[in-house]
Symmetry: none
Subunit: 373 residues, 2 copies
């Protein structure tokens, strides 16, 4: 909401009456998320916006007032959600996720079933083909587990294939499933077990009324929430023209990082991802690529010095010699050397320091060369 409207806008937790009005306005005919945001900013609260609706519509050339749910109808939606164990979070409320609030426009309401605290954590979306290869699913599951281990919540769309694998991989560490339909609309049916486990250990969210069956037009809105909840979207296997590419496009529009997992040109399921990379998406071979992409202010800071702590241990004589054999007069980046000897960079750096103390290596600018004579 703009500064101009902030003093009039109902910020913070809604009371019962305001919640009903907020939901009625959100569900009013022809009131999309953009209009909702504007009306709240302009009229300060949903009640006054609801009152103004007929005249605004009329003034703009519409004969009849937009249909608006009654208070009773809104109360029924709230009751239906509550009966399923879900709760409604309005875009003005503290529990509404910051990342989603930053998209233009944010969904006015979000139904949430499960651990709503996940909405307060940093999230990455992992999405992809419904008809995915076994390898694609395995990759998605492993990526999600690694992202979870790195403290990130994994968001996806509970579809077949890559989505389901991503949720499964992050079930222990935190995952959010965004539905196209309402809470309780389990689709596809084969994901019923996964749905139940996410509702219990993770979080199910939806913009729609509880129980509503998903329709085709709901999925782009769903995709917008998947990317909107996330600092980055990773696409794993996607044919050209697939829904995952729409999510990637929305993510880019929302200023989120887009990553894609490459694949062989001979595999049609890699086409969409390879296209994304060609268009500028970051290449993703694993969680490290994601962590690099979302590092705040990346590229604006010099690489930090390679630290050393006691737990890195001491370099062994074998490691020191392995590092030395890689040195040449051409400067080699230390992280490259670390990859080549398959040891942690701090440990390799320690080995290089010892080689330099021995007069066998030269160090500088994060790179190492063999010492001259």
């Amino acid at each position: 909401m703009s500064d101009a409207s902030s003093e009039r806008a109902p910020l913070g937790q809604l009371g019962d009456g305001a919640r009903l009005d907020w939901l009625r306005l959100a569900r009013a005919e022809t009131v999309g998320a953009s209009a909702f945001q504007h009306l709240i900013g302009r009229f300060g609260d949903p009640r006054r916006a609801l009152e103004a609706l007929p005249s605004l519509a009329r003034r703009a050339g519409r004969g009849q007032a937009p249909a608006t749910p009654s208070e009773a109808e809104a109360a029924a939606e709230l009751a239906a959600g509550a009966a399923m164990g879900a709760r409604l979070i309005a875009s003005c409320e503290p529990d509404y996720p910051e990342a989603l609030r930053a998209i233009d426009p944010p969904p006015p309401v979000l139904w949430a079933l499960g651990d709503a605290a996940l909405l307060g954590r940093r999230s990455v979306a992992v999405v992809g083909a419904r008809v995915a290869s076994a390898a694609g699913c395995r990759f998605a599951r492993g990526l999600a587990a690694d992202l979870g281990a790195a403290g990130l919540v994994v968001v996806s769309g509970l579809a077949r294939g890559v989505d389901a694998a991503a949720h499964e991989g992050a079930l222990e560490t935190g995952t959010i499933a965004v539905l196209g339909g309402g809470i309780g609309d389990v689709y596809p049916a084969e994901n019923a077990g996964l749905y139940a486990r996410i509702a219990e250990r993770g979080l199910i969210v939806s913009e729609s009324e509880p129980g509503r069956r998903a329709q085709a037009r709901d999925f782009p809105r769903r995709n917008r929430i998947i990317s909107g909840l996330s600092v980055a979207v990773v696409v794993v296997e996607a044919e050209q023209r697939s829904g995952s590419l729409i999510t990637a496009r929305l993510a880019a529009e929302q200023g989120r990082e887009v990553l894609a997992v490459p694949g062989s040109p001979l595999d049609p399921r890699a086409r969409g991802c390879n296209d994304l990379i060609r268009q500028g998406a970051a290449l993703c071979e694993g969680a490290d690529d994601v962590l690099r992409a979302i590092e705040p202010l990346s590229g604006m800071r010099a690489p930090p010095p390679i630290g050393w702590s006691e737990e890195d241990g001491e370099p062994t004589p074998d490691l020191i010699e392995a590092v030395f054999t890689l040195l040449s007069p051409a400067p080699a980046p230390i992280d490259e050397l670390a990859r080549q000897v398959d040891a942690p960079a701090p440990l390799v750096f320690a080995a290089l320091v010892e080689l330099s103390l021995a007069g066998r290596a030269q160090l500088g600018g994060g790179r190492a060369t063999i010492a001259g004579h």
Copy 2:
């Protein structure tokens, strides 16, 4: 060669005597390609350069004159190549490929067996893993055929796997195999049939003496010619730390386009290619991507070599030692060294050439290092 020296340099077809001298200078001890280029520019012809070698090396601190093949030895090399049906092309001659002449420094001589007219056509290198997957070989073969159909010559290294497949795919349309060893050194043995077919329908080239067996250190020089002959290098399947990645790096240094074929993160043979893409190589799913990349014909020219003219004068012993003290195992740009000793770059380059003749410095790509031992 620089404008200043071009009137004295032996441009055009060499006569028999000049050809012998050219080859003797090219094969002289401690005379690398950089020094060769400088000496020809400075002394105008190889005979005078040969005569100056002992005093130049002595001035830079080397006790004995660099060993130089006799005229008889050079004539024997020419005869050996001719007996194999090959011919020597000097870097000053019209048949020497333009693209290769543009690299810094160009190989002084090239042995060629087969259809040397292929050197006059636009070429693309297709290189990759020796232990390639069937899919990788199939892709390389198809890519080479498509590039050939588009009028491009396909260059590769006659190695197992991707290289062999690329040559096979372009056998009908034109392919150049660059050897690490000399003409006649068929390696690996399983490619003997392919070698014969390329010699008959395509072209085999080598910087080395005919019959010389390839050694490990010959392959980076071979890779530099593969990329140097080409407007673009496509890497198909490459593990991390593989020779194909060296070719890609050399191509980038030479201002050539670098493309890489993506692959699944689960396939170790895709690691090198995915890394290249992450570092900015263009993604290649087929010949169209190559054609798009080379359309502008942007690169192709390395920075011009540092010329030498009479008015630059001779480097003094003091200057030579001042330059030497600045050298380290880390490559130093020549213009930076020139700034540090406050002398004109051509003069500093002359000092570096003399140091290299004395075995105390190494030159290449406009940069200098202390010579390793």
